[in-house]
Symmetry: C2
Subunit: 332 residues, 2 copies
DNA sequence: CTGTTAGCGCTTTCAC
DNA sequence: GTGAAAGCGCTAACAG
């Protein structure tokens, strides 16, 4: 066993050619006889030659690596996002260095510096709540995954339209008394989702009660345990976890979903299908967003893009009880 | 704005010293006057000098980067694992390049080659089901996260003991008719968990029925929908998702958990606390496993280690109905 | 069509 | 205490 892996020079010497020729043969550049190229490639395969990445990176100034910064891998949506981004990157020949902001602005800034120092060619970032990443502020191209409210090269779902779709659905069912679980005030995404809902409800003459909180299951459960169920017939949450927490607390109190109260979420997490009742929610097209983020990061495309979202109808929404009774009463 | 970031040579020239001196000053090596070292560091900070990673990697032969290969980021446990590993790596000054096996042996092999080619210093791998990774087969140190059945440098939970704890718990409650959702036959982890359960049940004179399937919620639901609930009083699953699917299907059929049937899972996913009823399950110490994997990968420690797991008691397990009636009957 | 040369930015002897 | 020189492995320009 040789102590260290074979280098290009080793190949070149064994064949009596120069390193440049080996380089050309292996990468199909330059012009050289097919016969020689074949011999070189055969030897490379035989010796398990693997090009040293550091040498290439140093010479070309590029590393074929992108950095990905997520707010918190512990939250359910981000790993799925990361997976979509990893695939989009691999498709383009890029590897992914990951950084976790730990949910703080300082963590995010530290990760940016760390990844940049490691020579990434581009940065894809899902900003932590309350932070903004300027596209031009870094020495590498930056693609931001966030909301339409973010400036620069962003890839994002049309969160506002998702809010509109939810509100339309509930308003069409006849709900007039609505509780809005709007999530954190410092999240652009949450604000967009909420704004879309408020927009449609207002146009329909409905004035929803708005409650802010974190995005967690626990926050939803807390509100669900404290709220007066007689005060509304529908609850629209800006996050699935909030909605599911809310439903769980309500169910524990004997309130039935959707018979007594309809509930909606956002994101279509795996668990939205699984909970009882399955949750009406909004699905993002993560693959499309990831692809655009990578296209921007690698310079294939420029500019921001907004991706449509789909309302997924499930069993957690129905006509309001009140309304049903009213209609029945009117008909009899 | 300068076209490209400052290099060590730029610093050296501006101060009229050599590159070696700058290198020494920045890294506190070599002996040089504190005064000069201070001036060098001040200038470096002022110019936002960031050492070029590729240059250092080429020279030292090490990249301060580890590769992490997971079977599937879409499954709930792996992202949490990845997060723990990312933190353990950062603590040691390593960054993490991630690869997703896409659940296949070929995908895993391709990722290994890809990451090795990128010059990682070590590899941490959570093997895809049915695959084995030999520690010595790669040109870099490899740490495997899996089961005690894996040879080489592995970090793993004591899955078998987790199985024993679950079985003890159920046997102590009085269950004699038990259904085992054993998961996939080609997963070492699933086999260990199942073996632990079978071991204790057998010693207690209980012969569980064993069912194999994938690890998914859907597989659990399918079994729950098809099974005869009169055939057993407890169901022990090798994965939380299996257990939760099973409970969901059972509940839909009007079977009550835990009154009619007790159910247990494995892994303590976030959702185990959230479902109704909250699931009795087994928790792994992910942080400790991640830390050992990194210690092995970086050469701090050697050898395999097995980490204890904890049985988490929640509301999905209770004494069997039969038993209760029998006791009541006997007392009256 | 192929080989020579130079140099990416850094660290590490070793000489002053 | 400090500097000079060499070289990690690769590729781009140019010369043959």
């Amino acid at each position: 066993m040789p102590g260290r892996p074979p280098s290009m020079l080793d190949l070149a010497r064994r064949l009596g050619v120069s390193r440049a020729t080996v380089s050309n043969a292996l990468r199909g550049k330059g012009r050289l006889s097919p016969e020689l190229a074949g011999r070189i490639r055969a030897l490379a395969a035989e010796l398990h030659y693997i090009p040293a990445h550091a040498g290439r990176a140093l010479r070309t100034g590029r590393s074929a690596t992108i950095g990905l910064i997520v707010p918190d891998f512990g939250q359910p949506l981000f790993p799925i996002f990361a997976q979509a981004i990893e695939r989009a990157a691999k498709r383009r020949g890029f590897a992914v260095l990951v950084g976790d902001s730990l949910g703080t602005a300082e963590g995010q800034a530290a990760e940016i510096d760390n990844l940049i120092g490691r020579g990434i060619d581009a940065l894809v970032i899902i900003p932590t709540r309350g932070t903004t990443v300027e596209a031009g502020s870094q020495p590498v191209p930056v693609a931001v995954i966030d909301s339409a409210a973010t400036r620069g090269n962003t890839a994002s779902s049309d969160h506002r339209d998702g809010g509109r779709q939810v509100a339309h659905h509930l308003a069409d069912l006849g709900h007039r008394d609505v509780l809005l679980l709007a999530g954190p005030t410092d999240s652009k995404v949450a604000r967009e989702r909420t704004a879309g809902m408020v927009e449609v409800f207002t146009a329909a003459g409905v004035a929803p009660q708005v409650r802010h909180s974190t995005t967690s299951f626990e926050a939803g459960a807390e509100i669900g345990a404290a709220v007066d169920p007689a005060g509304f017939t529908a609850c629209a949450a800006a996050y699935d976890a909030l909605a599911i927490g809310f439903v769980t607390a309500l169910t524990a109190r004997g309130v039935r979903v959707p018979q007594d109260i309809s509930v909606t979420g956002f994101d279509d997490l795996v668990w939205a299908r699984i909970v009882s009742p399955p949750l009406t929610t909004v699905r993002q097209d993560l693959a499309a967003i990831a692809d655009h983020a990578l296209a921007v990061a690698t310079g294939e495309r420029q500019g921001s893009r907004l991706f449509p979202v789909d309302l997924v109808l499930r069993a957690s929404t129905a006509k309001p009880r009140h309304k049903n009774q009213h209609l029945t009463g009117g008909a009899s």
